[in-house]
Amino acid sequence: MTTTQEILNGNRLALAKLLTKIENNAPEGQSALIELFAHTGKAHLIGVTGAPGTGKSSLVNQLALHYRKTENKKIAILAVDPSSPFTGGAVLGDRVRMRDLSGDANVYIRSMATRGSLGGLAQSTANMTQAFDAAGFDIIIIETVGAGQSEVDIAKLAHTTLVVEAPGLGDDIQAIKAGILEIADILVVNKADRPGVENTEKALKAMLELAHPTERIFRHHGSTMRTVAPAQKASASLTWIPPIKRTVSTEGTGIAELVESIAKHAEHLRISGDWAVRDRTRLQVELEALIQSSLMNRFREDVSEKKYNEVLEKISQRNLSPYEAVKLLMNGRLK
């Protein structure tokens, strides 16, 4: 049986090995993804991001438990943790909080290190979610530490992005800073049994009132584009305002309400047509990343390492500017 067949039949070992190949950027991973691609596009991708220590893993654990209890859906969890920038190693500890899920054959947890790759991380994450999607998982939860641009990119993969906050992590100025709060479809104030929860919630509310993301801006072929402007929206009911949900994930408090919000958001995406827009945007990002990397590969094939180093040497000697060098290299006019 081929790998593709095994994955479609739900073989967990075959899936585990494919995920490794995708992560390692191995050619076998690519060929399997080509065959599996037609079977993707069915899963609901949920991104969960937030500062370290806000309780993301525990929340994901509770969400998965809830889905298993109430909806009998197959759940995949992709937990991304940082690699050391110095040694390339990583300790991936998200499973510690997800022990309640073990023993359930319909839950698959995979830990992944960022491996310090710029842009490439988002690519392999996207490919791994495709493998899960093809393998028949209904809900794919992607958990990332919200600490940088690459995490924001990963969150953009998702149909629904939860940003997790906890009391006592920062004041209202933190809440209006640009960054991960802007990507939230649902804001979760976790550890809501702690003092200061009202202040955190108030700060988030104020932030939303200042400017809730009624339009999404994304980059297309290098130019900034806007999706539907607020005035052009058919009706106000089509505008999604991120709800703020309180949870205590160690106890499971507020999880049912959060799941309800996630379902509402999915419904909103389908009714407003944003589901297709996001899907298309995601695939476009993927396509452009692939074009970039294959152009880069083609360039490396065309220009020998020796030539490349000669040019680099000229630049270091200040005999050639980087701009001129690019022109020379791209036009193949290099002697």
Partner: protein
């Protein structure tokens, strides 16, 4: 541009609650450039085998201080094999009496480390088990 890393599951089977040793090893392997998946305390052999499968690890490192290694290790080896993970190398650390060493090795355990073992030795052994 393949980017292969050694993936290690560090797990504590059984009921003892002392995970300092497991954490020290996890940290040392991280610093040696490996990707370590840490599972936490009180794992059953079934939980460990399941995690090893989902994570497609190359190595399973078990920390056992309770004396139950002769019950836990064979069960975990059996489950790994039943799942088709025949290439996974198993290393054990903890309080292991000398007389159990040869039996563990016979079972296919790749390395056993007692108190005072150096993390360099563990790293070297893991790396060597993948060389050639």
């Amino acid at each position: 541009m393949a980017d292969k890393k050694i993936r290690v599951l560090v797990a504590k089977p059984g009921l003892d609650g002392h995970d300092r040793g497991a954490k020290v090893v996890a940290r040392a392997l991280r610093d040696a450039g490996m990707e370590v998946i840490y599972t936490g305390l009180r794992q059953t052999p079934e939980m460990i085998a399941e995690a090893a499968l989902q994570e497609d690890v190359d190595v399973v490192g078990l920390s056992v201080l309770s004396g139950a290694h002769m019950a836990l290790a064979p069960r975990i080896m059996e489950l790994l094999r039943a799942n088709g993970q025949t290439d996974v190398k198993v290393f054990i650390g903890g309080i292991i009496p000398d007389e159990d060493l040869s039996r563990l090795k016979e079972m296919g355990v790749a390395g056993v480390y007692g108190p005072g073992a150096s993390t360099e030795d563990i790293i070297r052994d893991i790396k060597e088990s993948f060389a050639g």
